[in-house]
């Protein structure tokens, strides 16, 4: 096959994947309802919502995600932020079906997942999900 055609196919498929990747990251999506308890998290849950971020050391986007979620949890009432290392919390990773990092779970007051974000969350998506009136 012509080398130029091969190159075109590689870049074309990569572009399509890249556009899909960009559109799928950062937005809150419903997911099967995982429940995480306080003993799972080694921490009390937020009185209204808990933002649980799964991170690894190899994750370039975990730092900006942490910064954003900390800001939001400090600005919005009764919302707690927790960060978990996906490499050590293996059982939770499997139960919650975490495939990549950062993945942020939005839990209600009972620890039931109401949505999740893969990648760096968009601020307005998180705010709309947890507290449309507070900010």
């Amino acid at each position: 096959m012509n080398h130029l055609v091969i190159l075109g196919i590689v870049l074309g498929v990569s572009t399509i994947f890249g556009l899909w990747y960009r559109s799928s990251r950062g937005t809150v999506k419903p997911h099967s309802s995982t429940q995480l308890t306080e003993s799972d998290l080694n921490s009390p849950l937020g009185t209204r919502f808990t933002l649980v971020q799964f991170s690894t050391d190899f994750c370039s986007f975990c730092r900006p995600t942490r910064k954003l979620l900390e800001e939001i949890s400090q600005a919005v009432n009764d919302v707690k932020y927790l960060e978990l290392n996906a490499e050590t919390k293996v059982d939770l990773v499997k139960r919650a079906k975490i495939l990549s990092t950062p993945t942020t779970l939005i839990l209600d007051a009972n620890g039931i997942e109401i949505g999740r974000v893969i990648g760096v969350p968009k601020r307005d998506q998180i705010v709309d999900a947890i507290s449309p009136m507070d900010i």
Binding site: I6, V10, D57, C59, S60, P64, S100
Partner: protein
């Protein structure tokens, strides 16, 4: 007291991951895209070998000490804004190691005259570099956990 402070400072430095300007890896990915596209177009092992050396230094020493990283630090970064949020170096190093593996496979394919192996391995590395450069795709973010599931007993 001075001795205790010296111990603490060195311990802290070891435990704190090294940080990197995130624009550097994207610049590196841009050059990598051009080099590997050249390899795929020409079918030549020479650009793949050059890239393999870059990946080896970037993945096993430091992205800052590999050729493209040095170009970025000395020629590009001084011209850019100093307002950026650093990221841990682990992710870019991991991606460089994956790239190194691809280029080794490609060179092996070239050595035995197997163009299909060469092309597939180069195409994979090229796609990853292109995605990183254009769409800020983080390879470590996406495949590290999946890799852990496959290779690590504790994930089974």
């Amino acid at each position: 007291m001075q001795f205790l402070r010296w111990i603490f400072d060195h311990y802290s430095a070891l435990m704190t991951p090294e940080l990197i300007d995130p624009r550097g890896p994207r610049f590196t990915a841009g050059i990598t895209t051009i080099v590997l596209a050249t390899a795929l177009l020409s079918g030549s092992w020479i650009p793949v070998f050059v890239q393999c050396v870059q990946f080896a230094l970037g993945g096993f020493v430091s992205p800052k000490k590999a050729p493209y990283g040095l170009i970025y630090i000395n020629l590009i970064q001084p011209r850019l804004s100093k307002d950026f949020s650093s990221e841990p170096i682990n992710g870019p190093k991991f991606a460089q190691k994956v790239g190194f593996l691809c280029t080794v496979v490609a060179l092996g394919g070239s050595l035995i005259g197997n163009y299909v192996t060469f092309a597939i391995a180069v195409a994979f590395a090229l796609a990853a570099a292109f995605l990183n450069a254009v769409f800020n795709f983080c390879l470590g973010c996406e495949i590290y956990l999946i890799g852990q599931r496959v290779f690590s007993k504790k994930f089974r």
